[in-house]
Symmetry: C2
């Protein structure tokens, strides 16, 4: 075993055995499958002869009460007419934009320069669906109504300038979970509706936006024509997503889901996992938004550290650290060994700066650390000795 390999194993050990500042903390993946097994046993067929109850059967190619009841539940949460469970957001979102494009015979959409569709999906929206995208405004701040207006020109109607839809991510993950102000968001929605531009919500982490805005998920969704949500990010379930919108939109989305290979014989494990984990996620989210501000304040006191945005708007933020990644990773390991607290995972270099960033997203683990021990761990991270 060489040094690099030994370091990797040591880091895995620390990551899996320390208490975490972020997320759900280290999990044994076996536990999730044991929980799914227990739920299926409790809710499946039972009884014999005339006392037989069929219980909940596995979903079959997207049908059956196991998935349909959950779709109805999430649709109700967002006050949207219909919803469809899908394997991933990478599948759901280009489908949404494609449908809105097809409705007006116009393949042009628009989104933030750091949108997941632009950065992390191998441009499926373009290569599979033939869509083209305008990147809206400054990459370091949320999209505003002015960014869309600039694209269209004064007084222009959407159709005339060729834009079928706009996708807005709330909160915007790549810029530390920033949100536009509520008034700005309402103005953006009003602007788009007046011009027939369909507005789609990239709600991968929208669970955070509701307490941040002090608005319900339904109030947020009311500003949009369609919504995507994820169940593995803040929720902490196995992979899964949902696409919400009008019934005819969702029916069409189900056809594209089949075409993309996402209508599976069964997705019962993923569905049960999401059903089990969504309610506690919704319950803890207000606390997590508060926790992000508390944790950020502890880091902000350290020389050289920067918080983006400062203060955090949601339950996540970015911590910027000066210099290269490796010394900070070594410092993180030192803190973990000394305190049993794991502060962050990967660090990403920042374009054009001699600095790196960590994404700190609060979860159940963040609530279990008290401020005293956390402050001591953070002080040690910045202690050069």
């Amino acid at each position: 075993m060489d040094n690099a390999e030994a370091l990797e194993i040591e880091r895995t050990r620390l990551r899996l055995t320390c208490r975490h500042l972020t997320g759900v903390g280290p999990q044994n993946p076996a536990d999730e499958f044991a929980a799914i097994a227990a739920w299926l046993r409790d809710n499946g067929p039972h009884g014999e002869g005339d006392g037989f109850e069929p219980g909940i059967q596995p979903d079959s190619y997207g049908c059956g009460s196991l998935v349909e009841d959950f779709e109805a539940e999430v649709a109700a949460l967002f006050a949207m007419p219909a919803a469809r469970f899908m394997p991933s957001g990478c599948m759901a979102q280009p489908i949404a934009l494609r449908i809105w494009s097809d409705r007006v015979g116009n393949r042009v959409t628009a989104f933030h320069p750091t949108s997941h569709l632009e950065l992390h999906e191998q441009h499926g929206y373009r290569e599979l669906h033939g869509l083209t995208a305008h990147l809206l405004g400054d990459a370091t701040r949320p999209t505003g109504v002015a960014d869309i207006a600039a694209l269209i020109g004064p007084g222009g109607a959407a159709q005339a300038t060729g834009i079928a839809s706009v996708l807005i991510e709330l909160p915007a993950r790549e810029i530390g979970g920033q949100l536009p102000t509520w008034d700005e968001l309402v103005a953006l929605s009003t602007f788009c509706r007046a011009r027939g531009i369909r507005l789609h919500l990239d709600g991968a982490r929208v669970w955070q936006a509701a307490p941040a805005y002090r608005r319900s998920l339904a109030e947020i969704a009311a500003l949009f024509d369609s919504v995507y949500v994820s169940f593995y990010k803040d929720v902490g379930a196995l992979p899964g997503a949902m696409l919400l919108g009008p019934q005819d939109f969702v029916d069409e989305a189900a056809i594209w889901q089949r075409r993309q290979g996402g209508t599976l014989y069964t997705a019962m494990g993923n569905i049960v996992s999401a059903r089990l984990r969504l309610p506690p996620c919704l319950e803890r989210m207000p606390q997590l938004v508060e926790r992000a501000r508390q944790v950020a304040a502890l880091f902000a006191m350290q020389p050289g550290a920067a918080i983006v945005p400062d203060p955090p708007q949601t339950s996540m933020f970015h911590l910027w650290l000066p210099g290269e990644a490796e010394p900070w990773l070594a410092a993180r390991d030192r803190v973990a060994r000394a305190t049993g607290i794991w502060l962050f995972g990967a660090l990403k270099p920042l374009d054009g700066e001699r600095a790196v960033r960590a994404e700190l997203s609060m979860g159940p683990a963040s609530l279990a650390l008290d401020d005293g021990e956390l402050a001591a761990a953070i002080a040690l991270l910045f202690d050069p000795t």
Copy 2:
């Protein structure tokens, strides 16, 4: 509860509590997840301090030893250079044909009229990938070299006539699991290779083809440029598929998989399920091919019953029954109540005939019934009194 609902519950009870003639028999889905949990617990991280072993970590976006070791194992089984785990065949196969098309700048492919791509995928190959397909030959028999030759014309090169690839399903599910003869298959491969036509194997049930041909999976795959296999059909695992071929082909397929939304944060449950269930499937398959012939012979003795193909070539066959579906379903229920044996599930009307068909695919459950009790159950099915 109305009569239709009561009948539905009664049928569910019979289906879930009887011994089955086909497939794996009734399963409590909780058991599969409990098995996955146990495997993850046994193979995950263990030990403490210096004795810590990281064990197998969950896959992450298609990477990590959990999935890569399994890909290497299946690639070796087929003697193909590389393999990629994917959520479904609906995702894998259009991707394969798209890649072969892109290599020659020609979007035309060809397959059997009953191909899954034509009947059950909402034409994703066309709507997403812009491919067009020739349907090859007579829908009631396997594709032969003459069907491809007819398309191309005498002496024509593929490029001249515009065909980039051919997809062959072995065995062909919609026609009762028929196979071309081995010599015919070799001729077909030779014909395509001589003309630069890429040959793709739809191997959803290819596990059956090896014992049927008395050839190894590697000998079959050697006739093709790329191969798709499924892990939930004969194998009986959770949904999952693999696409096999040259390394550069598989690398390109991984990009398309991402574009289609099939590269998940983790697919560990599906991967573990497939890893657990593939070896016993390979072991029992020769017996199942033999069992199909035995079972078919018992049905063939009954007046009005027809076996397609007769005798079966693989571990599946179709049973054709005269008249409408409902009287046969009622007879099936009567047999289930009287004997505790569930003979078949859905019946499908046959185009242009006053008849219906059942798909009988042998599995572990089929091996557990003895011929005497099965013969009695079948006699009862055909007994009008």
